[in-house]
């Protein structure tokens, strides 16, 4: 099977190469047979890569420990489901996974565009082919997951090392695939942008054709980032969900620029403006996805997420440079075609609002990128290693995040083209009153921290704006169509899914900001407790009932039963664990005990056991409003789905054409 898997990858490489060659030939000779051949070759290559990934999964599941990759990232004691996670646990498998996700996108793009975008598709195929070729080249020459171990190797005999215990969590089964689906998916709108530039089809057609192809990776990336936060919260045991780790940042950057792009394309769709800007934004977004892959795999930055340092860095860096130079050359080549034919009328217009929103998204992305890369810069310039940690990022991103929140509220209150003074006054009065009122009430209730106060005010401001807009829309529909409230709401959303889906996403973001503000009120305590001893924290009494050891096939666990009471009423029993995995003795693993209530989380981890005093060391935390972060994530996903799904009119039109 090792030979089979490796052959599939090599065949895929050859087919991709031929697809690119045939596409180029088609352009030179204008012979359409070559276009058809190129498309079929690329689809064939994609299916072969997907086949190779499935072969590796099969090898992981059956436990073929003669394969070096299977032996390193799986073991006899791993559960079947975690054996599948082995596919993305190591460098070789994850690159193959990357290529197979790209293959899936290529297959779907080819299928859905088999009778559409005929002018753009040949170039789209070339771009997708080049990206695929790069990854297959890396896999074949440097990171072959089908390498066979020399006979009689110890690791094979013992039945594999097994998956890193940190990755043995349900969130880790979903988080990496989602991130990959997001990362890789941005290649599709990028390829269409390049195709639009080459063919000079720079009207809104390519934007409309890729609206869903952009929303889907954006959704996957967003969901992946949130799920990564959830994994960090329940697995890493430090009580937080976002550590501003370089690799976390790398996944967040394309999401930010992708968000800016999703907003600015609305202007091109509606007003045929910002052609250059949209092309640049999707180019930046795609470049950042490859740059993120480079950060994770080059070993230039230390991170809990990074793979071991390899020689791949130079190749990825070269590819990033190639992408940037190609994009710049294309933009210069087509700069005359990119100039807008329509003009902005006023600063107080929705168009300007979108532009400011874009600028802040980009500034935020630049600031995060700057902080992420600063340790490298410091070492290069001064020869001094420094750390740029979460304290720094929280400090620089918080004010920019607030500005962004302001614009989330202001944007929808502005009219297209120009907002008159009377409209400004009418649209802003209630939201401003709601924001100010909320801040005053929060202050009267004793809230004194600056950021939580501002967030409370801004959340109320944005929410009031969305509410008023929605109520006005319902009223108008009721007046015009005589519909009931719910029917009016439903048809209003159905008629403008991207707008109202966007508003739902905004509500999700508001929930997340409320969750972020809650961090300011979290409490934690390091305690050393013997059996029967208690600690009181924020009105909760934590009592150690007992501590004991449990043996499992792949690990032994030291467990503490921690009874929690409030006002003499039992609340729950927390069971934090400290695990020692058989093949990972040097890496004790903390299993967080978490009890979530609507307004706060009770969170405990075991730091260790002191045999002299017969006491356990515990870290206990009470984290308010963390649930709002996850709730916000769910609302964000729902909002995106609303924007993604076709409206009734679209469905009907499709039925008619079918």
């Amino acid at each position: 099977m090792a030979l089979f898997g490796a052959t599939l990858i090599q065949l895929a490489f050859l087919l991709t190469l031929s697809a690119i060659g045939m596409s180029a030939w088609y352009f030179w000779k204008q012979d359409l047979r070559f276009y058809v051949g190129a498309r079929r070759s690329l689809i064939g290559a994609s299916l072969l890569v997907i086949g190779a990934a499935l072969t590796l999964i099969q090898q992981l599941l059956v436990g073929n420990y003669a394969l070096e990759y299977v032996a390193r990232y799986s073991s006899r004691t791993n559960d079947g489901i975690y054996k599948i996670a082995g596919l993305w646990a190591g460098m070789e498998g994850s690159l193959l996974f990357w290529a197979s996700v790209l293959g899936t996108y290529i297959f779907l793009v080819s299928y859905f565009n088999r009778k559409r975008n005929r002018t753009l598709m040949p170039i789209v195929n070339i771009v997708l082919g080049i990206v695929m070729l790069f990854f297959l080249f890396i896999i074949i020459n440097f990171e072959n997951p089908f390498r066979v171990l020399p006979l009689g190797t110890a690791i094979e005999a013992q039945g594999g090392t097994g998956l890193n215990p940190l990755l043995q969590n349900w969130a880790m089964l979903i988080h990496p695939p989602l991130l990959y689906l997001g990362y890789v998916g941005f290649v599709v709108p990028f390829a269409f942008a390049v195709a639009a530039l080459v063919t000079k089809r720079l009207d809104a057609t390519w934007i409309r054709s890729t609206r869903r192809w952009t929303l889907i990776p954006w959704l996957f990336l967003g969901a992946g980032v949130i799920l990564g936060g959830r994994w960090a919260y329940v697995e890493l045991g430090w009580g937080g969900y976002w550590a501003w780790d370089p690799v976390e940042n790398a996944s967040f950057l394309p999401w930010l620029t992708g968000t800016a792009y999703l907003h600015s394309v609305i202007i091109q769709e509606k007003k045929n403006m910002l052609k250059m800007w949209n092309v640049v934004l999707i180019m930046i977004t795609f470049t950042l996805t490859i740059f993120g892959t480079y950060l994770t795999r080059s070993g230039i930055l230390s991170s809990v997420h990074a793979f071991a340092a390899t020689d791949l860095g130079i190749w990825f860096f070269g590819f990033v440079v190639f992408i940037i130079l190609s994009c710049v050359a294309l933009l210069v080549w087509r700069k005359d075609e990119l100039s807008s034919q329509r003009r902005l009328e006023s600063f107080t217009s929705r168009e300007s609002g979108f532009l400011f929103n874009n600028m802040i998204f980009l500034a935020l992305a630049m600031a995060i990128l700057w902080g992420t890369m600063f340790p490298i810069l410091s070492e290069a310039v001064r020869g001094v290693q420094i750390t740029v940690g979460s304290t720094y990022f929280n400090r620089i991103t918080a004010p920019i995040g607030m500005l962004l929140l302001v614009l989330v509220g202001v944007g929808p209150l502005l009219s297209w083209r120009r907002t008159s003074r009377a409209t400004l006054l009418r649209n802003f009065t209630w939201p401003l009153a709601a924001g100010t009122g909320t801040m005053v009430i929060a202050m009267l209730l004793g809230m004194r921290q600056v950021y939580p106060l501002i967030i409370a005010g801004l959340v109320a401001f944005v929410l009031a704006g969305i509410l008023i807009e929605t109520v006005n829309g319902i009223r108008a529909r009721r007046r015009l169509a005589g519909e009931g409230v719910f029917l009016a709401l439903r048809s209003m959303i159905d008629k403008n899914r991207s707008r109202y889906g966007g508003y739902i996403v905004h509500i999700g973001i508001l929930c997340m900001f409320i969750g972020f503000a809650g961090k300011a009120f979290s409490t934690e305590q390091d305690v050393s407790l013997g059996q029967g001893e208690s600690e009181i924290l924020k009105g909760y009494t934590f009592t150690v009932d007992r501590f004991y050891t449990e043996e499992h096939p792949s690990y032994s666990a030291f467990i503490v039963d921690l009874a929690v009471e409030k006002q003499h009423r039992p609340v729950t029993v927390l069971r934090p664990e400290r695990r020692h995995y058989t093949n990972w003795e040097d890496q004790p693993n903390t299993e967080v005990a978490l009890f979530s209530r609507p307004l706060e989380d009770l969170y405990a981890i075991v730091g260790g056991y002191d045999p002299e005093s017969d006491k356990v060391l515990l870290k206990i935390m009470i984290n308010p409003l963390v649930q709002m972060v996850w709730l916000g994530g769910i609302i964000l996903i729902l909002g995106t789905l609303v924007a993604l799904l076709p409206s009734r009119a679209e469905r009907k039109a499709k039925e008619v054409t079918a």
Partner: protein
Amino acid sequence: MNKFRLGLLLLALAAGLAGQEGKDALQRELEKEVMAPCCYGAPVSEHESEAAKQVRGQITQLIGEGRTREEILDMYVAIYGERILAQPRAEGFNLMAYVMPPMFLLVGGILLVYIINQMKTPATATATRRKKTYSDEFFDKVEREMKEMGI
């Protein structure tokens, strides 16, 4: 006189409690500012390694000895280098780390105001009317042919 003594006693007690609270706050602050020297992957407040535990203990001891925040941080920098700090000090070259993010915002804002002003000026006739080029004709032809071939 007894009331006066009681008052003094309560005052001393309050000052003692406030002092302890201040020490705890400083401890928490320092634990967030010093990285775990084992891997420099997280501050000692979040890290559970032996090295991180050791640093937490040292910080408690140093605060107990009456050392100030800056003295303690200086001591760690002297032992491990600047990498031990969770965020770079805003001085010298490191100042750039703090100056650039607001600059991105400022420069971006100024640039945007300029661009919007430019976009507000009326478009010239040449920009609005684009001639059909050879490339357009070629792609129109390709599209026609592809439709004919049913691709």
